[in-house]
């Protein structure tokens, strides 16, 4: 009885999504003219799930399913982000849905399943749950990205799928090493085993493998190269979903792994830092020559994931809170940018060429677009500047030794500015090009909301920063543990004997 009560109390958001997915599946089988009514059902379900998330008691950490499902402030926060992102995606997908009314139920159902996978992923506490949740997210993402039945699109999907399989294999490699060494798949047991036995090297290797595999979700190195193709060829709403929700879930689990499981394996912070530096360099340099804005967004998202990982590599509370803040703002900026692109996309993709003269023809849309891209570039008054500033601040306060690191990150944001400005400048070009735009109320909702948030959060960022600090602090016990252990490792740099 108690078991059931636990599940009812703690897993309500997931259960609602589960039921919603099944419902949508039935609707899909029964009728294909449900386009109008389905939308309200879907939004209602997601909203309900979001409310359930809000009412969860997060002051204490609680678990379900014998400890394989964790409810804490941190995980619930990430679930809220995922749900908010999914709702935005659903609003954003309005155009696509109008054009493909037959497959509406399937589309929504897969989004539900993906969101559910992401939510369980961030609160999983053993590797089997993590892996299954990850695959749930991945497989529904593969299918979603192939929803346009077109040659190029399906080719991109296959790239995505194959890269994803390799990434999953890499994760399994790491997990099996850990299982072999500790005899368990539970995070806490493995953590204890790592601490007690001299498993530093194996833990370092398997940690590297698991995190590298999860980097597939973030589209950072080593698994970054699917992103431009997939973002370009998928339905735009799906690209938005992949660049936001899927990344948020990836960040959530990586943060949790690093602070709970691999707590004390200091070398993983170096790995994270390396991944971050290389990813942002690759993303920004490849973005320089790109004319297609959707691909540009992919490169930009690679670089942004790099920034976040860079700050995660510091491992302090301040850095964690700045990462959380960055993730929130990244979500806002990206939805603003994607919704502008969705308005402009006429099927052939959006290039800098096709944006010419937008500022004079459609000033409001251009304003939204400018604020989104300027924010992504990190210019003041927009929220992107403050998240970047906070991020730099975290790096600076991590120590004077990291000054070169800071220089590199700043240099990267400098390079990135160039391609963001290419987009902005094109809009102010006076030779106008033909633009067909698509407006709908639902699209306008997400566009206006995210743009307003980009502006407002920029000017009044302190509540959000305070909130992200609370989130980071709730993950703090793990971080404190880490810091203490890091101290001993740095004091005595011979952690284990390796012959």
């Amino acid at each position: 009885m108690e078991f059931a009560a636990d599940i009812k109390n703690l897993m309500m958001p997931e259960i609602i999504l589960f039921v919603g997915a099944l419902l949508l599946c039935f609707i899909g089988i029964l009728t294909d003219k449900a386009y109008k009514r389905v939308f309200s059902i879907v939004v209602l379900m997601l909203g309900l799930s979001f409310l359930m998330c809000l009412q969860l008691d997060t002051d204490t950490v609680s678990m379900a399913f014998g400890g394989s499902f964790l409810i804490s402030k941190f995980t619930v926060f990430f679930k809220e982000l995922i749900l908010a992102g999914t709702i935005s995606t659903i609003f954003l997908s309005d155009k696509y849905i109008k054009q493909n009314q037959k497959s509406v139920a399937e589309f929504y159902m897969l989004l539900f399943v993906a969101a559910l996978g992401g939510m369980i992923l961030v609160s999983s506490r053993d590797f089997i749950t993590m892996f299954v949740a990850l695959e749930t997210l991945s497989i529904s993402s593969y299918i979603l990205s192939g929803f346009i039945k077109e040659k190029n699109s399906q080719e991109a999907t296959l790239k995505y799928l194959v890269t994803g399989c390799v990434a999953s294999a890499v994760i399994l490699y790491g997990v099996s090493l850990l299982y072999g060494m500790s005899g368990s798949l539970r995070f806490d047991v493995i953590f204890a085993a790592i601490k007690s036995a001299s498993m530093f090297n194996i833990a370092a290797l398997s940690g590297t493998l698991v995190i590298s595999g999860l980097c597939f979700k973030l589209a950072t190195i080593p698994f970054y190269n699917w992103a431009p193709d997939v973002y370009e060829k998928s339905p735009l709403a799906v690209s938005a979903f992949l660049s936001t929700v899927s990344k948020v879930a990836g960040f959530g689990i990586i943060i949790r792994l690093v602070s709970e499981l691999f707590n004390g394996i200091w070398i993983l912070y170096l790995v994270l830092g390396l991944i971050a530096l290389v990813s942002m360099a690759i993303g920004n340099l490849l973005g320089l020559c790109e004319e297609n804005v959707k691909r540009l967004m992919a490169y930009s998202s690679i670089a942004h994931a790099g920034y976040i990982l860079a700050v995660l590599a510091l491992g302090s509370t301040l850095s964690l809170s700045s990462a959380v803040f960055y993730i929130i703002t990244y979500l806002l900026m990206n939805f603003a940018a994607w919704s502008c692109l969705e308005v402009l996309d006429n099927g052939d993709g959006v290039t800098t060429e096709s944006l010419k003269g937008l500022a004079y023809k459609r000033p409001v849309l251009a304003f939204c677009m400018v604020s989104a891209f300027a924010s992504l570039a990190g210019l003041p008054i927009f929220v992107g500047f403050f998240s970047k500033f906070y991020l730099f601040q975290a790096i600076v306060f991590a120590g004077f030794l990291l000054y070169p690191f800071l220089c590199f990150v700043l240099l990267n944001s400098l390079i990135a500015l160039y391609y963001y400005f290419k987009v902005i400048r094109a809009m102010f070009d006076e030779q106008e090009s033909e633009q067909t735009v698509f407006w709908s109320k639902r699209l306008a909702v997400v566009l206006v909301f995210s743009t307003v948030m980009v502006l407002l959060t920029g000017i009044f960022s302190s509540p959000v920063i305070t909130y992200s600090q609370q989130i980071a602090q709730s993950q703090m016990p793990a971080v404190i543990q880490y810091e203490a252990i890091k101290g001993t490792y740095f004091d005595n740099p011979r952690p284990i004997s390796v012959r």
């Binding site: 997915a21 394989s68 499902f69 897969l110 559910l116 497989i139 299918i143 039945k149 005899g183």
Partner: protein
């Protein structure tokens, strides 16, 4: 007995390696698939030698039979239109692949070899003594153990898997179904 066990293990391991290499390099797709089936079956046999009956049996049933039939169907349907030759055309890439694999192998050996040393105190220490280790490992593969695990500890992922499969079916149905721009 100990020796025999090792010998059987080694034979099947060698078969896995050879058949999978052959699957990659075979220049006709039929051969490729056939050697993949051999590989699946040998993996199942390998599990059986390690006294993991349940996994071994399911490996043979799912991969050795189910997946093989699926692959055979796929080849039958694609028929003549399937790629003429499966030769790996780019020697540079093959070479690079080999280099990478070998490097990765050496990295793995670097990490794993110290702990596999029986004298090392770190190896499998969480299982207790050597005999206890063997015993606990032996239990892992049994149907009872797995069943208990799935329906007690891992019931959440098990339930989630059902949804995953449902999503997979719906997705494949959509993708394979008719479309307006017939590809």
């Amino acid at each position: 007995m100990e020796f025999l066990n090792s010998a059987v293990f080694l034979i099947f391991a060698a078969m896995i390696i050879f058949s999978s290499v052959f699957a990659v390099f075979a220049h006709k797709i039929e051969y490729s698939v056939l050697s993949a089936v051999v590989c699946f079956l040998s993996v199942g046999a390998l599990f059986l030698t390690l006294s993991a009956d349940f996994i071994g049996a399911s490996q043979i049933m799912i991969y050795g039979v189910g997946v093989s039939i699926l692959l055979a169907f796929a080849i039958m349907f694609t028929g003549k239109d399937s790629p003429k030759s499966l030769y790996l055309t780019n020697p540079l890439r093959v070479f690079l692949g080999f280099v990478l694999v070998l490097t990765f192998l050496s990295v793995l050996i670097f990490f794993i070899s110290p702990v596999l040393d029986p004298k090392s105190d770190g190896a499998f220490s969480s299982y207790g003594s050597f005999a206890a280790q063997i015993e606990s490992i032996r239990q892992i593969g049994t149907a009872k153990f797995i069943g208990r695990r799935i329906f007690c500890d891992y019931v959440l992922p098990f339930e989630l898997l059902s949804l995953l499969l449902l999503a997979g079916i719906v997705g494949v149905g959509y993708l394979a179904g008719g479309s307006k721009k017939d590809v």
